[in-house]
């Protein structure tokens, strides 16, 4: 099984063993950016290293774009929100505190921006039309195509497609924990940091979210809108 399927698999060595200060690694080598951890790259970004930021962008652009696509369900705003996410990450790099996990920090920005955009769209239904500069939309946006690639069993294909379609209809709080935990492979503790919700609540949401999806594959019917 491939973990973190939508992230490039970049090898990350452990952090330098000896550190002069608790909040900063001992030294940076001028080369070998690809082997640096996300957090080390972020420290370099704080010092104005745009190459380090490009590396972070390469590592996380797919994660951020996919998260936004799954959460928002449409492509209208995904491009502009994702662009704003990385611009903010660069602009507010000084506010990042090493050794906080970079992924957690970045997804907190992403989530906040997505929530703000969603609120604004509610108030103003006029959408800005942008040129689509994304790849993989046609292939991955159709649940049936995804299911067909996953198995030869037609019955299973139907079940997978039904589950994926049902994901869109979940309440946002239940969908969010599945997208972050299952698709983005974040732990409950990391999700708690990003969402500001207690881990035990997130466990409950995961359980109830999957329970709702299970109705699509013949599970017990639940009364409508049971709050987890």
């Amino acid at each position: 099984m491939q973990r973190r399927a939508d992230k490039p698999s970049t090898p990350r060595p452990p952090r330098p063993p000896a550190k002069p200060r608790a909040d900063e690694p001992a030294d940076f080598k001028p080369s070998g950016l690809g082997r640096s951890s996300d957090e080390e790259l972020m420290l370099r970004t704080q010092r104005g290293d745009r190459q380090a930021f490009s590396m972070l962008y390469e590592r996380y652009s797919t994660s951020v774009l996919s998260y936004l696509y799954r959460m928002m369900g449409n492509l209208d705003d995904v491009e502009s929100i994702a662009q704003e996410v990385f611009l903010r990450a660069f602009r507010f790099a000084p506010s990042y505190r090493y050794p906080q996990k970079f992924a957690t920090w970045l997804f907190a920005i992403t989530r906040n921006l997505a929530i703000n955009y969603a609120r604004r769209r509610k108030r103003s239904p006029v959408r800005s039309v942008t040129e689509l500069n994304l790849e993989g939309v046609d292939m991955s946006g159709d649940p049936c195509q995804i299911a067909a690639r996953a198995t030869d069993s037609v019955e299973k294909q139907e079940e997978i497609a039904r589950v994926l379609k049902a994901l869109d209809d979940l309440p946002t709080d239940l969908k969010e924990v599945i997208v972050l935990g299952v698709f983005q492979d974040l732990t409950y503790s990391e999700m708690a940091q990003i969402t500001g919700t207690k881990a035990v609540t997130l466990r409950s949401r995961m359980f109830h979210g999957l329970k709702r999806l299970s109705r699509q594959v013949g599970g017990p019917q639940e009364p409508p809108n049971p709050a987890p």
């Binding site: 399927a5 939508d6 104005g48 745009r50 995804i146 994926l164 299970s214």
Partner: protein, 323 residues
């Protein structure tokens, strides 16, 4: 299902770990083992959850989108532009907080300066316009000097139809000798008060002077003058002029004095400022230079450097008034 169960129920915790981590993870294997081998309640329903989780794992590529070259180029151009526009500056919120803090400090400093200025300008004005009508002490020296204690050695003062001085005929004419009286009761430094003396001038002369003074030091050195110039504010008639002496040594000149005249010398004082006038003609208004904390004592002193008749200068009365 209540939240608390997810915290306390060990199996539910394991199951939710497995549902998050997915097929292949250690938690997944453990959870399925327990579902198979142990009698877990609602096992069928929980197996169904695991089946859904497997479907999600199979569909993990669902809505995976990647940035195209156009998106990356556009973003990096914006980053470049941003780094040129604000080279590694502080976040706007931090800048806003700093500007806000500076503004608050500026306002506090401004208000402080205004208050300080107003206290230095308003203080004397308040003193000038205050109404002090409550008499706390008065003496016309008709029957001695009760409420006062004598100061000085060679000059003896006498209270009888006014306060007069007996100047010895053999007084050394080179220096001034002092003698007088000091009020027994002090006045609090924080309180505004007024000392008012009425002086009859028989013959203005440089040989003899009379002083109405306020001091913050009630003991006097064993010197001919019996005075503490650095601790006294003095309003005096010397020769043919009214003068004011401040603790810092400076002297302010007032009106001239005529023979046979009766003058009213007034010292009005608060914690910091003093107004001195004679017959309502201001001689000095400003900081008095005495301690702002130590109690004040009002006194009357004669200074002589040669013989003069007692009726040359007669203090007819002294009053102390408060608001």
């Amino acid at each position: 299902m209540a939240e608390i169960e997810f915290e306390s129920d060990e199996f539910l915790k394991l199951l939710t770990d497995a549902l998050r981590a997915g097929p292949g993870s250690p938690a997944w294997h453990q959870a399925l083992d327990r579902l198979r081998t142990q009698g877990v309640a609602d096992a069928d329903e929980l197996r169904l959850l695991c089946e859904v989780r497997q479907h999600l794992e199979s569909g993990k590529d669902y809505r995976t989108v990647r940035a195209g070259p156009g998106f990356s180029r556009k973003l990096m151009a914006a980053v470049e532009e941003q780094s040129v526009r604000s080279p590694r500056g502080l976040p706007p919120a931090t800048l806003l907080a700093i500007v806000g803090a500076l503004l608050i400090v500026g306002v506090i400093v401004g208000v402080g300066i205004i208050l300080l200025r107003s206290s230095t300008t308003r203080g004397p004005e308040l003193l000038k316009n205050a109404l002090l009508a409550s008499e706390v002490f008065a003496s016309d020296f008709s029957d001695g000097t009760p409420g006062w204690r004598p100061i000085g050695g060679r000059l003896l003062v006498k209270g009888s139809n006014g306060l007069t001085v007996q100047v010895p005929r053999d007084l050394d004419g080179g220096i001034y000798h002092g003698g007088g009286i000091l009020a027994d009761k002090p006045l609090a430094a924080r309180d505004m008060f007024e000392a008012l003396a009425t002086v009859g001038v028989g013959r203005p002369t440089e040989q003899l002077a009379v002083q109405l003074f306020v001091t913050d030091e009630p003991s006097f050195p064993q010197s001919p003058q019996s005075a503490n110039p650095r601790h006294e504010l003095v309003c005096m008639i010397q020769g043919s002029q009214v003068r004011v002496g401040l603790p810092d040594g400076s002297v302010k000149a007032g009106r001239s004095v005529q023979p046979g005249q009766t003058l009213r010398l007034r010292i009005r004082m608060d914690r910091q400022f003093v107004l001195v006038d004679n017959d309502d003609q201001q001689v000095y208004l400003g900081r008095h230079g005495l301690s702002e904390d130590r109690p004040r004592y009002v006194g009357v002193r004669f200074e002589a450097r040669g013989y003069e008749r007692p009726d040359a200068l007669v203090v007819r009365s002294v009053k102390i008034l408060k608001p």
